[in-house]
Symmetry: C2
Subunit: 155 residues, 2 copies
DNA sequence: AACTTATCGCAACCCATTTGCAGTAAGTCA
DNA sequence: TGACTTACTGCAAATGGGTTGCGATAAGTT
């Protein structure tokens, strides 16, 4: 709460609402609401970009220092099964997780590591081209494309 | 040699030539030619598609049963530094290696695991599109795209 | 308050790959 | 040919991301 004062009140409330709604959904399906889960969700919702499990754990520890990595992995798995989060591999390192708001693919800059979103329409178009030439259609991309961002190319 | 009789004599000779030429290049740069290396190259050249290290080791063992995985990893790394092989990740499992003949990207079928080649031209076109929309250009893809092949889609 | 069982923390494990090290042998040179 | 240097090898152990088994804890229910 207090850590949230940099953000506008409305946004903070919306975030809390979203968290509570998610926890409600978990309870509805027979799951249990714990401090650990609330803390993990808070980090995910406050910082919904692409977070590695280690980052996530570190940020959860700001509030709840004893949460174990395993707990995070298991809860992320639960959220994934609920369709709320997905993970992407952006290279050889650990996977990164994000809220599953919209369907998209990722491109990561080889040089600086920044991750950008490739929207569904463009991927759809590529899928059509691939279907014509190879018979393959594209499915949800679990691995990011590698590229080079404008800044790193010109810098 | 004998294992090669299914293939035309000319091809077998060409393969042997390519292997000896590679070994020569290794010697030229101060490297050493060993039975292990010759056997590994033979497998790579005879079956230059996308082989995992485990497959590679298994096939090397047909000739030389005591070659260690570590040796294979290390020699592949050497060949990679010479620009002769690359590896791609086709999913969560082990990487697959192939001779670095032509530049290309890979798409792997989610269902049956078959790997197809996406040619440079198509990738180049995508890169141009990405550059226009996000400022990113595509570089060599270390991870395969995920898709579904025609057979698995209709079957 | 008693009870059921989902979740937790921990330790141990799995898999692909890497590293340290002592022994072997490839290439070189007398 | 034999001595010599050092690249390469095999093995064991480590690394890193992630998963699993299990007894203890605590959320939700009666």
């Amino acid at each position: 709460m207090i850590a949230n004062t940099g953000v506008s009140y409305g946004v903070a409330v919306a975030t809390s609402d979203a968290i509570e709604r998610t926890l409600g959904a978990i309870r509805d399906q027979g799951g249990r609401v714990t401090d650990q889960r609330r803390a993990i969700l808070r980090v995910l919702f406050e910082r919904s970009d692409h977070v590695s499990v280690d980052d996530l754990v570190a940020r959860v520890h700001d509030r709840l220092p004893d949460v174990h990595v395993t707990t995070v992995y298991r809860f992320l798995e639960t959220l994934a099964q609920m369709g709320l989060v997905t993970h992407v591999h952006v290279g050889h390192g650990p996977a990164v997780y994000h809220l599953n708001d919209r369907r998209h693919a990722h491109i990561v800059c080889n040089a600086c590591g920044i991750i950008e979103i490739i929207d569904e329409a463009m991927m759809g178009q590529w899928s059509v081209e691939l279907e014509r030439s190879l018979g393959f259609s594209l499915v949800d991309q679990h691995f990011a494309l590698a590229g080079r961002c404008g800044r790193c190319r010109t810098g």
